[in-house]
Structure formats: structure tokens, C-alpha cells
């Protein structure tokens, strides 16, 4: 994990104070999250870049409406991202409709919402990436290898108790993050 990624607390504090550096910190911390959400929801790289730009510009302009009492900065940003993705999907639908009308007079009626599945998985990946190195390694093996926790301890030459506690705390952290980011603004 890059060392220059600021902590959520730092970003949140800077943002709350209206620190001019806050936007840069916000982007450093959440740029990949927002972009990945957009990329996975929209597919097209150029659209994902546009959405990412819109999200951070919106967040900056509306930063006074961020209320730490109502949820985390990450949750707030994910909510903005979802809205922007929806807007982009709606725009596309509109364009599609125009094209379809010209071609056959038909219209599609797909709802313009980013899938929860995509959001959850990207949020999860973000939180996983935020775990301390050793813990992240344990969680990755626990999730994606067939190794048991005893085998993980052996492979990593780490005490069994440490592995178990990494797994327990890591899982709880991921679960909390998923639930927190479901906060709707």
C-alpha cells in the first residue's frame, strides 16, 4: 500500500475545517475508490473519468453539507458517486432512446442505478486495501485460497492466535464498512 495515502481521520478533519488541502487529500484517499466504482458501473473509461471529476468537484462545492454525525466521509462520497453514475446512466439512456427512436421507435426502460453489488464489492476492495499489510495478507489468503487458518499461520510463519485475531478483526472491519457505506444521503 502506498505510504502517501492519508488516513480517513486526516482527510475528514481537513475536510471539516475547510482546509484548502482537503480536496487533494480527499482525492488521494478516495480517487481510486470513486474511479473504480465508476469504471465498473459504466465500463467506458472516459465516462468513468468524467464521473470521477464530477464527484470530487461536487464534493468540494458541497463540503459544508457533509455531516460527520450522519456517516463517514467514505459513505458520503460513495453516495455522491452513485448519484453521478445514475446521472451518467440516465444520459446514456436518453441518448440510446433517441437512437432507438430513430432506428425502430423502441425505447429501453432499464433503471438507471448503479448495481449494489458493484458498489459493495468495490467498497470492500477499498477497505481490504486499507488493512495493515500483514492483516491484508491473512485476509486475502482466507478469502481466496483454500488454506485453513492453521495452514495460513504455517505459510506465513505467524502465530496461530495472531492469524485468528487478524481474521476476526479484519472481517468485522469489512462488515462495518459495508454497512456504514450503505448510509443513504
Amino acid at each position: 500500500m502506498p505510504v502517501d495515502v492519508p488516513s480517513d481521520e486526516d482527510v475528514s478533519a481537513a475536510f471539516g475545517k475547510g482546509d484548502p488541502d482537503a480536496l487533494r487529500l480527499l482525492y488521494q484517499r478516495f480517487g481510486a475508490l470513486v474511479y473504480s466504482l465508476a469504471r465498473r458501473s459504466l465500463g467506458v473509461q472516459a465516462d468513468a473519468e468524467d464521473v470521477t471529476q464530477q464527484v470530487f468537484v461536487s464534493a468540494w462545492r458541497g463540503r459544508d453539507t457533509f455531516d460527520p454525525e450522519r456517516g463517514s466521509l467514505a459513505a458520503w462520497l460513495v453516495a455522491i458517486t452513485r448519484n453521478r453514475i445514475s446521472d451518467m446512466l440516465r444520459t446514456r439512456q436518453r441518448d440510446d432512446r433517441v437512437l432507438l427512436h430513430m432506428a425502430a421507435g423502441a425505447a429501453t426502460e432499464d433503471p438507471a442505478v448503479p448495481s449494489d453489488q458493484v458498489v459493495n464489492r468495490v467498497v470492500l476492495a477499498d477497505e481490504l486495501a486499507r488493512l495493515p499489510e500483514a492483516q491484508r495478507l491473512v485476509m486475502t489468503l482466507a478469502f481466496y485460497s483454500d488454506l485453513t487458518h492453521e495452514q495460513i499461520a504455517e505459510v506465513l510463519q505467524t502465530p496461530l492466535g495472531t492469524v485468528k485475531s487478524h481474521i476476526r478483526r479484519g472481517l468485522q472491519r469489512l462488515r462495518s464498512r459495508l454497512e456504514a457505506d450503505r448510509v443513504t444521503y
Partner: protein
């Protein structure tokens, strides 16, 4: 009596055979532990589906666009005083004024244009002018026009009267002023603009500015009396193109905004649906 070892639940959720017979017995009859197990299991299923997800870093150009958009939110911010001339209170006040950009308050259907950064005619690379961020925001104060909202008469309806004001960071234009009257006329929207400003070399041009700070639509030039009436493009989304800007353009043949904004004002938020075709 305490619940089962939380590590037992975590390992069980991962699909391991862990814990003792007592743990299993407790789980079988404890709703709390079952619920916890279910939540952990859901998290794990999500993580395992389709294998690991890695986050993608956006290309560096995205940050440049963000910095440029926020920094160059207002034309000509390069001439503006650096951020240290801006009081935090002023920045906060400006940010308050633009709070409607937050998604919860954005009306359905508003979108920020297809390609704000790339399509915007004028795009500045500021190299992260964070000072410029604050300077850019300050304009909100001068630019948020006092809007006189009129009741709608029949015939050629006045939709809004907007006061145009000079921008804080252009001291040379502080004596400038203007008005814009938005009228609905035969199903079209017309904007009549007039400006009082010192005579300078060049001509005045009227623009609609998008909320992303980079998209803009040129409406046309003001005449020798610094006045002009323009028909807005049919279907233009005034919730997005919500600001009116008058620039001083040099006679250099460029069709782009000169970055010298003389006066500016904002359309009232409530009337913005007027241009919707449907």
C-alpha cells in the same frame, strides 16, 4: 453467559470447522450469534464472488481536470490573488452558496454534460492550484446575484430578472454592473443583457456557464451600447447552465472565453425547468 468466541464465528463464516462442541451448541440456540454469523458470511460471500477486486487508479489527467475545474471555476482566476487573500469565512460562505450541487438536492435529470473536461473549450492546467481553489470559490459571492423573481404575467413572460455583478478578483471591473432579463417568448427563452462598464479595447460577449466550471455556451456579442438580446438554445438545461457571464474579448479571432469576466449572475434555481422541451 457470554456468547461464543468471536473467532469461532469468523472461522465458521469462512467455512472452516472450528470451535468446540459447546460453541456449536451455543450457536444452535443463540439468535444473536446466528445473526452475527449471517452478517459475516454475507461479507465473505461478497468478497469471494468473482475473486479479488483490485481498485484502479484513475489516470493522472483526472486530478488535473478536477484541480483545473475547481481552480478555474471562474474565468480568469489566474489573475486572482492567491488563496491567502481569502478569508476562511468567505470561502465557507461561498461554499454554502453552491451547496445545491450536492446530489441529494440535485433534481432528477440534471447531469454535468458529457465530457466537461475534454469538451470544455477552455481548460487550464494549473498544476493543482490549491490556493486557486479558494480563490475560485470566492467568486460565488460576487456572482450569486440578487434575483428579483417576478410573478408570471401573460404574453411575453418575464421569468427572472438577474443582477450581474463584478467578480471579487477583478479589481479593474469593480465599477461594472449589468442586468439580465430572462423572458419566455413564443415557447422560447430570451435573455436580454445590458452592461455598464468602462470602455476597453475589445468587445463584450455573453456566455452561459455550466456548473462544472468548464462547459460554456456562447450566446453572442453585445452591441456598441453594451446590450443585446439572445435566444437561448432550445432544450438547454438551465439547472446546469445556471450562470450568466459577460466577458471582455480581445479582437484576436479566438472563439474561446478570454478568461476576463466583467460581470456575472446566477439564474434562480426555481425557474430552471422552464427551458425543458418536455
Amino acid at each position: 453467559m457470554s456468547h461464543t468466541d468471536p473467532e469461532f464465528l469468523a472461522l465458521t463464516a469462512l467455512g472452516e470447522h472450528a470451535g468446540t462442541a459447546q460453541d456449536a451448541a451455543h450457536l444452535a440456540q443463540c439468535a444473536d450469534c446466528q445473526l452475527e454469523l449471517e452478517r459475516l458470511t454475507r461479507t465473505i460471500e461478497l468478497a469471494r464472488r468473482d475473486g479479488p477486486v483490485s481498485l484502479e487508479q484513475p489516470p493522472a489527467s483526472v486530478w488535473e481536470r478536477i484541480a483545473a475545474t475547481v481552480g478555474a471555476e471562474e474565468a480568469g482566476q489566474l489573475d486572482a490573488a492567491p488563496g491567502n487573500a481569502v478569508s476562511p469565512e468567505a470561502v465557507r460562505a461561498a461554499a454554502n452558496g453552491s451547496g445545491r450541487d450536492v446530489p441529494a438536492r440535485v433534481p432528477a435529470g440534471v447531469h454535468a454534460g458529457a465530457s466537461p473536461g475534454r469538451a470544455g473549450g477552455r481548460r487550464r492546467r494549473l498544476g493543482v492550484a490549491v490556493a486557486g481553489l479558494a480563490a475560485g470559490l470566492i467568486i460565488g459571492i460576487g456572482g450569486t446575484a440578487a434575483v428579483t423573481q417576478l410573478t408570471r404575467p401573460s404574453a411575453s413572460q418575464v421569468v427572472a430578472e438577474i443582477e450581474l455583478r463584478p467578480l471579487a478578483q477583478f479589481p479593474q471591473w469593480q465599477s461594472a454592473a449589468g442586468t439580465a432579463v430572462l423572458r419566455e417568448h413564443q415557447a422560447a427563452l430570451q435573455l436580454a443583457v445590458s452592461v455598464t462598464a468602462p470602455s476597453r479595447s475589445g468587445f463584450y460577449e455573453v456566455w452561459l456557464l455550466g456548473q462544472n466550471g468548464t462547459s460554456m455556451i456562447s450566446l453572442g456579442d453585445l452591441n456598441a451600447e453594451h446590450a443585446g438580446t439572445f435566444t437561448l438554445p432550445a432544450g438547454v438545461d438551465l439547472r446546469f447552465y445556471s450562470r450568466i457571464d459577460v466577458s471582455l474579448q480581445p479582437f484576436n479571432g479566438s472563439t474561446q472565453h478570454s478568461s476576463t469576466s466583467v460581470v456575472r449572475g446566477s439564474l434562480p434555481a426555481t425557474e430552471t425547468g422552464a427551458a425543458d422541451p418536455g
